[in-house]
C-alpha cells in the first residue's frame, strides 16, 4: 500500500475562488492510502514546496498528488521537489484543478465536486505508479554526414567548427553536389563555383573532417548517440593518398568516349577522370565500366605514365566500420526523367534541354566553354522558349504533385542572363504562376521582365515539334490574350521538376527514418522541429527534406548542425523513462508492435525460457530500445497478447483513472 500525500493549491484566488479547497483536501484525506492532505496558498512557491518536502519526510510518503494548475505548467517543478526530498520524481501526479476546473466553471458546488473527482483519479493513478529511472546512454562524439553537396558541406563545417569530428560520405568521386554544376546563383548572380569551391577546400583542410568520397552507407545499426555504420568505399583503382591530382592520366587515357556526367552527358571524358578542376578530393578515379585494362586486361597506360605510382588495378571495395553519435542526411535531389513528357520532344531534339543542361551550356567550364550555342549545330540560338512547371504540380501521375520551388527563380535568371549577354535573342517564358517569395526574389523576376525585356506569357506549352529546317515549333496558349501561339524557337529549355535522390529511399529504411509519399524525408514536426527526423539522432539537411534553394539549404544545414552539436555536447543522454516495455512471458513475437512503431524502437530477440517440465524453449520476443522509444504507446494497443505496456501511463493506471472518474 502506498502512503500518499495530497496537496491542494489555492493558486491565490485562481482556484480558491471557485473551488472549496479545504473541502477538497478534507474529502481526499479519506481516500484509501492517503495519510496526509493539506491545502496551501501557493504550492509552487518555496514555502509550498517546503511543505511538500517536509510531509514526504515526516510521513514517509511514497506517492504524492498535487491538485493545482496544469501538469504542463508545474509537473517538472513538483517532480524536482519530490526528488529533493528523496522521493522518486515519477511518484508525483498532478490533478489539474485550475485550467480544467476552476477557470471553466462558475458554480462552486459543481467545481468542488469535479475537483474532488479529479483528485481521486490522480490518487487512484498514483497507487499504481512505480518509481522510474531514466536510462542513460553514452554519446559517441562523432557525426556522420551523408551527402557532400552544399547542405552536407555546410553542416559538416559547422559541426567541425564546434570541435566535433565529422565524416562526410559522398557517393560520387568529389564533394560539391549539384551546386558545383551551376553557373550563377540567384538573386545576386554570384558564380556558384566562386562561393562553393572555397568551402570545399575548407572541408578538405579541416582537421576534424574526414571525406569518404566514392563511398556509400552500407548498413546502420544502433540508436541515437551510438550508431554503428558500415561504409562501403568503392574501388576507384587509384591510391587516394598517393595521387597528386596532376591530371596527366586523364589526358592520356585512350578511352575517350565516356559520357561526362558532370556535363550531363553533353560531352565526353576519359575512362580515368577527375570530375572537374576544383574537385575535392582532387584524385583521379577509374570508371570500371569503360577502362580497357579492367575490362580486357590490355592497356595499363595510366599506370605507366603516373609518376606518383598511384594507379592500383587490384583495388577492391573496402568496408569501414565507424561509430557515430548523430547522423545527418543530406542526400539532395535530381531532376526527374522526362520520359513521360514526350510532347516536349526532349528525346527527339538535342535543342530541347533541361534547365540543368542549360546551366552547363552557359557555364564557362561547360561543354561549350560558356558560349550559348545550341547543341545540335553549335549555332547561336535567336529565339529561346523556357517552359516552367515541367513535371511539377502534376497530379496526373506523369510528374510530381508538389511545386519544385526553385524553377521560377532559375528560369528568371536564365532568361535575364541570356538577354544580357545576347540582346538579339528573343526570350519567352511560359508560366502557370510565377512564385517568387524570398528576399529580393520578386524584384529579381520583375527586373527580368521590365529591364531585360523577357516575354513572360501566362499559359502552358502544349507541344514542341522539331521542324525540317532545324527549328522547333512551339505551340502554346496565351491565356491572357486568349490565343494560341506558334513560335519557331531555336532552343527550348524545360524547367524540370526535382525529386529526391534515388539513394534516399533505401537509406531511410536503414535509418528507420520516415519519408513522405514523394520520398522526401519527414521532419519531426513540420513547424517546430524542421531539421530533425522523428527518429532520434537523425537530422535532415537540404533538399532531402523538400525542395529548397541555396540560401534555404544553407540555413537548414546550419540549423541541423546546431541540433547535432547540441546532441554531441552531452556526455550521456537521459532518456524519457515513460517508455514502452514488453512482458516477455506474455509476448508471442507476432511483430504487431514493430509494425506500428514510428521510431523503429522495437526489435526481436530469440530468448531461452525454462519450461515447467525443465526443458528449455526458445521463443522470439519483443525488446524495446529505451533510448529510441518516445513513449507514444501505439504498440501497447496493437499488442494482441497485452504484453506491451507503457511506463507512467500503464493500462492499469489509466483504467484506475477511468474507474475513479466513473464512480
Amino acid at each position: 500500500m502506498q502512503k500518499i500525500g495530497v496537496f491542494v493549491c489555492w493558486c491565490g484566488s485562481n482556484i480558491a475562488a471557485t473551488v472549496d479547497v479545504s473541502a477538497v483536501s478534507e474529502a481526499l484525506s479519506h481516500e484509501p492510502g492517503v495519510v496526509y492532505a493539506t491545502n496551501y496558498q501557493y504550492m509552487c512557491s518555496e514555502a509550498g514546496q517546503n511543505t511538500i518536502k517536509d510531509a514526504i519526510k515526516k510521513y514517509g510518503l511514497t506517492g504524492i498528488v498535487i491538485c493545482s494548475c496544469s501538469p504542463r505548467m508545474h509537473e517538472a517543478t513538483f517532480r524536482k521537489t519530490a526528488a529533493a526530498a528523496g522521493l522518486n520524481p515519477y511518484m508525483v501526479e498532478i490533478a489539474n484543478i485550475r485550467e480544467q476546473c476552476s477557470w471553466i466553471h462558475k458554480d462552486m458546488a459543481t467545481a468542488t465536486e469535479k475537483a474532488i473527482i479529479l483528485g481521486k483519479a490522480a490518487i487512484a493513478k498514483v497507487h499504481l505508479n512505480a518509481p522510474l529511472t531514466a536510462s542513460q546512454s553514452p554519446v559517441v562524439k562523432r557525426a556522420l554526414v551523408i551527402g557532400g553537396g552544399i547542405a552536407g558541406i555546410q553542416t559538416a563545417l559547422d559541426i567541425a567548427d564546434a570541435g566535433f569530428e565529422v565524416d562526410i560520405v559522398e557517393k560520387s568521386p568529389t564533394i560539391g553536389g549539384k551546386m558545383s554544376q551551376l553557373d550563377k546563383t540567384f538573386p545576386t548572380l554570384d558564380c556558384a563555383a566562386c562561393i562553393l569551391t572555397p568551402k570545399m577546400v575548407d572541408v578538405a583542410q579541416h582537421e576534424k573532417i574526414k571525406i569518404y568520397s566514392y563511398s556509400e552507407v552500407e548498413a546502420v545499426k544502433g540508436f541515437v548517440g551510438n550508431f554503428e555504420v558500415t561504409i562501403r568505399k568503392k574501388a576507384r583503382y587509384v591510391n587516394e593518398n598517393v595521387c597528386t591530382g596532376c591530371g596527366l592520366c586523364t589526358e592520356k587515357c585512350p578511352q575517350k568516349n565516356v559520357p561526362n556526367e558532370f556535363n550531363l552527358g553533353m560531352d565526353k571524358r576519359r575512362a580515368i577522370y577527375i570530375p572537374f578542376a576544383q574537385a575535392v578530393p582532387k584524385v583521379a578515379t577509374i570508371d570500371a565500366n569503360y577502362c580497357m585494362k579492367l575490362k580486357t586486361g590490355k592497356c595499363g597506360l595510366c599506370e605507366k605514365i603516373c609518376t606518383a605510382g598511384a594507379i592500383d588495378y587490384s583495388q577492391k571495395d573496402q568496408l569501414i566500420e565507424q561509430k557515430y553519435g548523430a547522423i545527418v542526411v543530406a542526400t539532395g535531389f535530381n531532376p526527374i526523367k522526362l520520359d513521360n513528357f514526350e510532347e516536349y520532344s526532349y528525346s527527339q531534339s538535342p535543342d530541347v534541354v533541361t534547365s540543368l543542361e542549360f546551366e552547363r551550356i552557359t557555364n564557362a567550364a561547360g561543354p561549350t566553354s560558356g558560349q550559348l550555342l545550341r547543341p545540335s549545330d553549335g549555332k547561336h540560338p535567336h529565339t529561346i522558349v523556357f517552359v516552367q512547371c515541367v513535371g511539377s504540380r502534376d497530379t496526373s501521375g506523369c510528374g510530381k504533385p508538389y511545386c519544385s520551388k526553385i524553377c521560377c527563380m532559375y528560369t528568371a535568371k536564365h532568361a535575364m542572363l541570356t538577354r544580357e549577354k545576347y540582346p538579339d535573342t528573343d526570350v519567352y517564358v511560359f508560366y502557370i504562376d510565377v512564385r517568387t517569395p524570398g528576399k529580393n526574389f520578386d524584384e529579381f523576376y520583375r527586373r527580368a521582365a521590365e529591364e531585360y525585356g523577357v516575354h513572360y506569357i501566362k499559359g502552358m506549352v502544349g507541344k514542341v515539334a522539331p521542324k525540317a529546317d532545324g527549328k522547333l515549333m512551339v505551340q502554346a496558349s496565351d491565356l491572357i490574350s486568349n490565343e494560341q501561339l506558334h513560335i519557331d524557337a531555336d532552343m527550348v529549355v524545360l524547367a524540370t521538376a526535382i525529386e529526391p535522390d534515388k539513394s534516399a529511399r533505401p537509406l531511410a529504411t536503414m535509418l528507420t527514418a520516415s519519408m513522405d509519399t514523394n520520398d522526401f524525408f519527414t521532419e519531426a514536426h513540420p513547424k517546430l522541429r524542421p531539421v530533425e527526423s522523428p527518429t532520434a539522432g537523425i537530422f535532415l539537411s537540404g533538399t532531402c527534406q523538400g525542395p529548397k534553394d541555396i540560401p534555404e539549404t544553407v540555413s537548414q544545414a546550419g540549423a541541423a548542425a546546431a541540433k547535432v552539436i547540441g546532441l554531441l555536447a552531452k556526455d550521456t543522454l537521459t532518456a524519457n523513462p515513460c517508455v514502452a516495455h514488453s512482458d516477455e512471458m506474455m509476448c508471442n513475437g507476432c511483430s504487431s508492435c514493430e509494425k506500428v512503431c514510428p521510431y523503429g524502437a522495437i526489435t526481436y530477440v530469440d530468448k531461452e525460457f525454462r519450461m515447467p517440465d525443465r526443458t528449455v524453449a526458445i521463443r522470439r520476443v519483443a525488446v524495446v530500445n529505451e533510448a529510441v522509444c518516445q513513449g507514444c504507446g501505439a504498440c501497447t494497443v496493437a499488442c494482441p497478447s497485452g504484453a506491451m505496456d507503457l511506463k507512467g501511463f500503464s493500462n492499469s493506471q489509466i483504467m484506475a483513472e477511468v474507474d475513479a472518474i466513473c464512480k
Binding site: G462, S477, L479
Partner: protein, 129 residues
C-alpha cells in the same frame, strides 16, 4: 437550386470531371489542334463550367470543332479531362434537340476527303447518338 446550378450539376455528373482540380495553366489550350477553329477554348470550358456559365457553351461552335483527340486529357497535369466537358456539353445540346438521328445515306455527303481518320470516327460518334 436554380436552373443554372442544375445545369452545371448535370454537366459535372455526365462528364465526371472535377473542375476544381484545374490550376489554370492552359496546357489544354496549348495542346489543342482545333484551337483556332473554336470560339471558346478548352480551358474556358473548364472555367465557365466552374462558374456555372453553361448557356454560352451550349451555343458555341467549339463543341462541334472539338476533334475528341483527347490531347488535352492526355496532357493535363492535374487530370481534369477538358474533352469530357466538351462532350458533356454537346450531349446536353443533343438531348435538348430530341430525336435527330443521322440517316446512313446522309453520311457520304458529310464526309470531307481531307478529314483525318480520327475526326471521322469522332464525327460518327458525335452525330449518331
Amino acid at each position: 437550386m436554380d436552373n443554372k446550378e442544375k445545369q452545371k450539376e448535370r454537366i459535372l455528373r455526365v462528364s465526371g470531371v472535377n473542375v476544381l482540380k484545374c490550376m489554370k495553366c492552359g496546357k489544354c489550350s496549348g495542346t489543342c489542334p482545333s484551337y483556332d477553329e473554336m470560339d471558346y477554348h478548352p480551358h474556358q470550358f473548364v472555367y465557365m463550367v466552374e462558374k456555372g456559365e453553361i448557356e454560352p457553351l451550349l451555343k458555341s461552335k467549339s463543341i462541334y470543332k472539338c476533334l475528341s483527340c483527347f490531347a488535352c486529357v492526355e496532357r493535363c497535369p492535374r487530370g481534369v479531362e477538358p474533352a469530357k466537358i466538351v462532350e458533356a456539353i454537346r450531349l446536353e445540346v443533343i438531348r435538348k434537340q430530341g430525336e435527330n438521328h443521322l440517316k446512313p445515306n446522309q453520311i457520304p455527303q458529310l464526309l470531307d476527303e481531307d478529314l483525318p481518320q480520327q475526326a471521322i470516327v469522332s464525327a460518327f460518334r458525335k452525330y449518331s447518338k
